[in-house]
């Protein structure tokens, strides 16, 4: 790990929606903190002697990105990813913090596992916020110890990867979590409808002979969870929203004032079921890629605020789980290193402005999880991403930092890249010399 140093980020475009800032300016990092932000016309503050000065004309300087939905696979599946490799991938993608899902082996359903993750994360390349399980062992039967996990450092609870099938358990989870001020994240899926499904149910699943996952499998559970949130008045965050009707339901719930937030993944606004070409298992995930109509609804929800967060659901799998028959292959794709260019595509097409992009990838996840970051406040920890919105590149497998390479974007031309990532004043990723 590189030592803390003084860094001057010169003449970039500083975009900090939390402080309503969008201006050309320079930013000084010293002693791990954001010391000063000043425009060319303002007086330059006194600069330390030993200073790394980087000219960032045309580049964006934004709060470090926060991915509130990743699978780091440690403990238990270190051959897919570790906390070290996963946070390296995060840093390479402009992220300074990640929230890691509890479906590890053992499951993060108690204080010792939460502590183990945080110990392993001490020297990681990004801040790691463990998310605990809702139910013990993800079995969907009894509540895990939210209070103790929170004490150890967990920021939220979820059974992600699986739905909480029992409605009473979900209700109690929402109520009990509110007592500990812990966010509940729902993986909304009616498993009886989606069981054994491989891709979205429709013409593509029929013509490929694959068992379908109907969009209603998501929507029925989204409705249930929204109803529980409204009834209990307890906050709820919905993970990986992928369908039009889910969005309609969330929009309605928000209009009624329910304490709900929602995220989607970059793949849901970049790809459709038609991209599952030639049984490519790197386009297999849960929820599955949907239709053009759903994609358009997701984009609309991102721009109108119905969706609060872009989170990648970074789900590393090795070729053992992916280079096999399609129906046998594991669900999930990696996402940390492609989130920036994919989100920037929405910006370039005019669906969102730059400030909104930063909200989706940093400000809002910080708020929802109640963690630091998400802004460029003077005096705060220097968690910063520098983005080159123009840089074009073709994603090659060999350039992927994550230990697993299961990306449907390999070979695809992308535009936009994290050039520099600074976490707590330390440079965790530097592609400026590239």
């Amino acid at each position: 790990m590189i030592r803390t140093q003084a860094i001057l980020l010169k003449n970039g475009r500083i975009i900090d929606p939390a402080n309503r800032v969008d201006k050309k300016a320079s930013l000084l990092v010293e002693k791990g903190k954001i010391q000063a932000i000043f425009t060319p016309r303002q007086k330059t503050p006194s600069l330390p002697k030993k200073l790394q000065s980087i000219d960032l004309r045309g580049k964006w300087i934004v709060p470090g990105l926060i991915d509130m939905h990743v699978h780091l696979r440690e403990p238990g599946e270190e051959y897919k990813e570790t906390i070290e490799t996963g946070t390296r991938a995060a840093a390479a993608g402009g992220f300074t913090a990640v929230a890691c899902m509890p479906n590890t082996t053992p499951v993060n359903d108690c204080q010792p596992v939460t502590r183990l993750i945080l110990e392993k994360a001490e020297n990681a390349y990004a801040r790691v916020y463990p998310v605990g399980a809702i139910s013990k062992g993800l079995q969907g039967e009894s509540l895990a110890e939210f209070g103790e996990m929170k004490q150890a450092g967990a920021v939220a609870v979820t059974d992600d990867g699986k739905p909480v099938t029992d409605s009473q358990l979900m209700r109690r989870a929402l109520e009990y979590a509110s007592s500990h001020n812990v966010m509940v994240i729902s993986h909304s899926e009616d498993y009886s409808l989606s069981r054994n499904g491989a891709i979205n149910e429709g013409f593509v699943s029929t013509s490929m002979g694959l068992k379908g996952i109907p969009h209603i499998a998501e929507e029925i559970m989204v409705y249930r969870d929204l109803a529980l949130a409204e009834y209990t008045g307890c906050p709820l965050h919905l993970a990986h929203i992928s369908t039009q009707e889910s969005i309609n339901l969330i929009r309605l719930a928000k209009q009624k004032g329910s304490p709900v937030t929602a995220e989607t993944g970059p793949h849901y606004f970049s790809l459709t079921e038609k991209d599952v070409k030639d049984y490519n298992t790197n386009a297999k995930m849960n929820p599955p890629l949907r239709t053009q109509k759903d994609l358009e609804a997701v984009i609309e929800a991102i721009s109108d605020g119905t969706i609060d967060v872009i989170a990648t659901d970074h789900a590393p799998h090795s070729i053992l789980e992916k280079d096999i028959e399609f129906d046998q292959a594991a669900n999930g794709i990696i996402g940390l290193e492609t989130a920036v260019p994919l989100a920037l595509a929405l910006f370039r097409k005019g669906y969102i402005n730059a400030a909104r992009l930063v909200e989706l990838l940093s400000t809002n996840p910080a708020k929802i999880l109640g963690v630091k970051g998400g802004s460029l406040e003077i005096g705060s920890d220097a968690d910063i991403a520098v983005i080159d919105p123009e840089h074009s590149f073709v994603l090659h497998e060999k350039d992927i930092v994550s230990k697993s390479k299961n990306s449907p974007f390999i070979g695809v031309k992308l535009q936009g890249k994290a050039l520099l990532t600074i976490c707590g004043g330390r440079i965790t990723h530097n592609a400026i010399s590239d």
Binding site: E201, G202, F203, S205, T206, S207, M208, G209, L210, K211, G212, D278, Y279, L320, E321, D323, I324, E325, F326, D327, Q328, A329, A330
Partner: protein, 310 residues
Amino acid sequence: MSSEYLFAHKHILGLDHLSVFDIEHILNTAESFKEISRRSIKKVPVLRGKTVVTLFFEPSTRTRLSFDIAAKRMSADTFSISASTSSTTKGESLADTAKNIEAMMPDIIVMRHPSSGASNYLTNRINTSVINAGDGTHEHPSQGLLDLMTVKEHKGKIKGLKVAIIGDISHSRVAHSDIIGFSKMGANVFVSGPATLIPKKISRLGARVCTTIKEAVNNADVVMPLRIQKERQSDPLIPSFREYATFFGINRQILQVAKPDALVMHPGPVNRGVELAPDVADSSQSVILHQVTNGVAIRMALMYLVLGGT
């Protein structure tokens, strides 16, 4: 057939990939090979020295035997492997199994596998010709082709005929290949059955969906009930075979609305008394055994053509 036509497929994965010309060429080639099976010495040397491996991950009697007989009548050497489905964690992966077989230099691998797309998967990992003998609920091209051959033989044409496929369309790779094949060749395909067994958007594959089987069978030239599979019953699709037979089975009575000379076909094996009444299965309208005979000719043609025969 234009003189420049060349059969250019190294693999047979499904009817989806074949053009009308390809299908006509396969049917014509099969027609010319059919006579070989009627000779007293049922062997020609066209594939002498070639090796055909049948790799079956699902039980099969007729398809496997049919490929085996077809290969031997062409003088190829055949070897069968029955493999249990490799799970993702234990046992050998499909790619490894196939690469090991390939290392022994076969010319064709004929594969049946419970996963849709398994044959497509194989062609991306090995160079040997692959013939799909049924992959999951995706395609069963040799069955689709032998059905086309049988109809053409009895009706003299395919174009303009009404073909009714009745039953479990969702889980039938035969229905898939038949819908694609018959539509491609200009027939009008109608499907019907309990709504639990009709897949989403099947009409975009070329089939018209009828709510009653009477509507589908009405004035049909071909009536093809599909096997109702007991092994699918983990999903509640039909309440009982008895009720299925009453409402969706093909019997004398329902057949009366079809054309008087309608063909009754079935991809086998038949559940007598469930999807097909025994007396209909054995009637003069039934061409079920002709399908089986033609299957050998079609498979001879496929193996001949993928190895560069013209």
